[in-house]
Subunit: 366 residues, 2 copies
């Protein structure tokens, strides 16, 4: 069931909460900024970060026609939405039924599947997948073959009659390294491994990177040979990436309603069932979050310590956040954008407090 | 869209993954064990823990006809499923539209709403809610009025013409205290506060507790006056509660498929989008979990340290977990049951590896 496409409220004060709210100006800033740094096919936006074909269509309007997916459901949804010009499943699948679903899409979409082992190459071939990319492990202990194995796997795939389009590697362990000099050095070392594997594999594609080091990739393409970056979080952002000082704005918040106030704390109806919690607690501007329960966030009604030492504002000792009244709307910033979006079935596009549109989060599930 | 009610696979080896799998024997053991300790109306099962009317119906067959909910969606779904004999929303709501939804249910279900402030009492009255419970803060910094305020709020509700059925208090800060003597002492102290408030409020209900201290409540009802316990996690369990040594078995696992193996680690397709992560990483029997990504769990293929010192099994140094092959099914135990269930749209009832049924998780969202 898709939510109705038109907004059912004029301002955020009329929305039922919790509600996913995306600021259109911050979103547009983020899409434009990224499209300037990595235009067109240099960016293959990762739809796992938002799970919305509506948002993917906006990324397409900014010039990016090729997309990255993490699940079969995302691949199927993107193809059905007419966004299947070039879809990469940057993940391994061995389930014959799911691979068959992917193979069935190949007449209406360009489908490429990552493979990293004999088992995944053979499973893709048996299902009739036509295009694969060799997934190479470049430091994150997850999927990906050893760099020295990539050429052999490519040959195995070609022996099966499949087209090998190139390589991908995800240096996920480097995304949040906040010493950017270290991050750059380690990214370039990882790309040396990936390029070495690419030489053995052949094909046109060297796909890597993410929001956290997209600018390193943009600056060093000549050296690394990377042809596309798989960034996703940049569109909506979260507190985890915002600590890196990237040129993207916080576009995503979860709108809540204050349902209880006490002398030292208040409670809003945004809990851990509406927030990705693997990166820790969410944030609320001017308030320190104490903890989340299933349907609640408890936050201090005193200013957090870091606000007290913010010398750009009023003198520290005079600051005390106003006690929010029951019924007040608050905006809660998730620590991790991807799982947060996956918990909701729709989001509201807003400008300030005005609600412009309601759009489905239609790529959830598996 | 509800998934089809009949199972689409004969064994777990044919299920698409990730998939929520509930062992029927462990579930039945848990339901029977709890029904023996807190029979009938002494337990008001909390449906937030599983979000499934099918599971609530099983709890009803074990003698519990009154249920606790955390969201309006849960209340509406339970009433529509014919499970509305006595539904308590153990949460505060001030949104007039959502309260109106609840009020509309009152002709077909017994609806009681928690209130803890002038604002929530007045909002319930304006919406035409007929029955309320005074929510009293007994130590967890979240909702609930100060115990000394409860009598005044009850009078305010009665002045509005509403029936005040009693009090509730949730000592959530005591659920996972693993020194059970301390837990008992602190639970009884919290119940002293709640009983004091109940004397001022009147009504028949004193509702409190949860899975973690359900036995303390069962043993001390004569002293505390508690009339019902709001436990939910006991039915399915998770690693967080299992540390307490309660008499419940782990019924819930998330079934995954191994998609990559390396010398020191393997990867299955159960990630943080299919697991509640607020209580930390999930567990896999005989393997140490390293970390979760959106769609992956990376786990060591060596035995974890604690297994090495398990003297009930083979000698420690001889143990090495077998390297799981790509395609092998693994069962991942979530650290927190409630948000895990909320991420999936259905679950499979199994006995061992046999799939018996597929049932909807139909109370998701808000």
């Amino acid at each position: 069931m898709h939510p109705k496409p038109s907004p059912d409220a004029a301002t955020v004060h009329e929305l039922s909460t919790p509600a996913v709210v995306v600021d259109i100006d911050a979103l547009e800033h983020n899409l434009s900024t990224m499209a300037a740094v990595l235009p067109g096919a240099l960016l293959r936006p990762h739809v796992k970060a938002h799970k919305s074909t509506a948002l993917a269509a906006m990324q397409r309007r900014h010039g990016h026609h090729h997309f990255t997916c993490a699940t079969v459901r995302e691949m199927v949804g993107m193809a059905r939405a007419g966004l299947g010009e070039d879809l990469l499943l940057a993940n391994e699948v061995v389930d014959p039924d799911r691979l068959h679903e992917l193979a069935m899409l190949q007449d209406r979409a360009m489908i490429t599947v990552a493979v990293d082992s004999d088992a995944t190459v053979d499973a893709a071939a048996r299902a009739g997948i036509r295009h694969v990319l060799i997934d190479v492990n470049i430091g994150l202990p997850r999927c990906g073959c050893a760099p020295g194995e990539a050429g052999r796997l490519a040959q195995r795939a070609r022996d099966h009659g499949m087209v090998v389009r190139g390589v991908m590697g995800y240096e996920g362990h480097l995304m949040a390294v906040d010493d950017r000099g270290t991050q750059q050095r380690d990214t370039l070392a990882a790309m040396d491994q990936l390029r070495e594997a690419a030489r053995e594999v052949g094909g046109d594609i060297i796909s890597a990177g993410g929001t956290g080091n997209h600018d390193v990739h943009a600056a060093h393409r000549a050296r690394t040979g990377v042809t596309e970056v798989q960034a996703g979080s940049y569109a909506l952002m979260d507190t985890y990436y915002s600590a890196l000082g990237l040129p993207f704005r916080q576009a995503l918040t979860i709108l809540g309603t204050v349902i209880a106030t006490h002398e030292k704390w208040a409670v809003a109806d945004v809990g851990l069932k509406s927030l990705g919690m693997d990166h820790g607690n969410p944030s609320i501007a001017n308030h320190k979050v104490w903890f989340c329960s299933d349907e609640h966030v408890t936050f201090a009604t005193e200013k957090p310590d870091d606000a007290r030492t913010d010398h750009t504002g009023p003198t520290a000792s005079s600051i005390r956040a106003p006690q929010p009244a029951v019924g007040t709307r608050v905006r809660v910033i998730p620590a991790h954008v991807d799982p947060t979006m996956a918990m909701h079935d729709s989001f509201y596009l807003v400008r300030g407090d005005d609600v412009l549109d309601r759009l489905p989060i239609d790529l959830r599930g598996w």
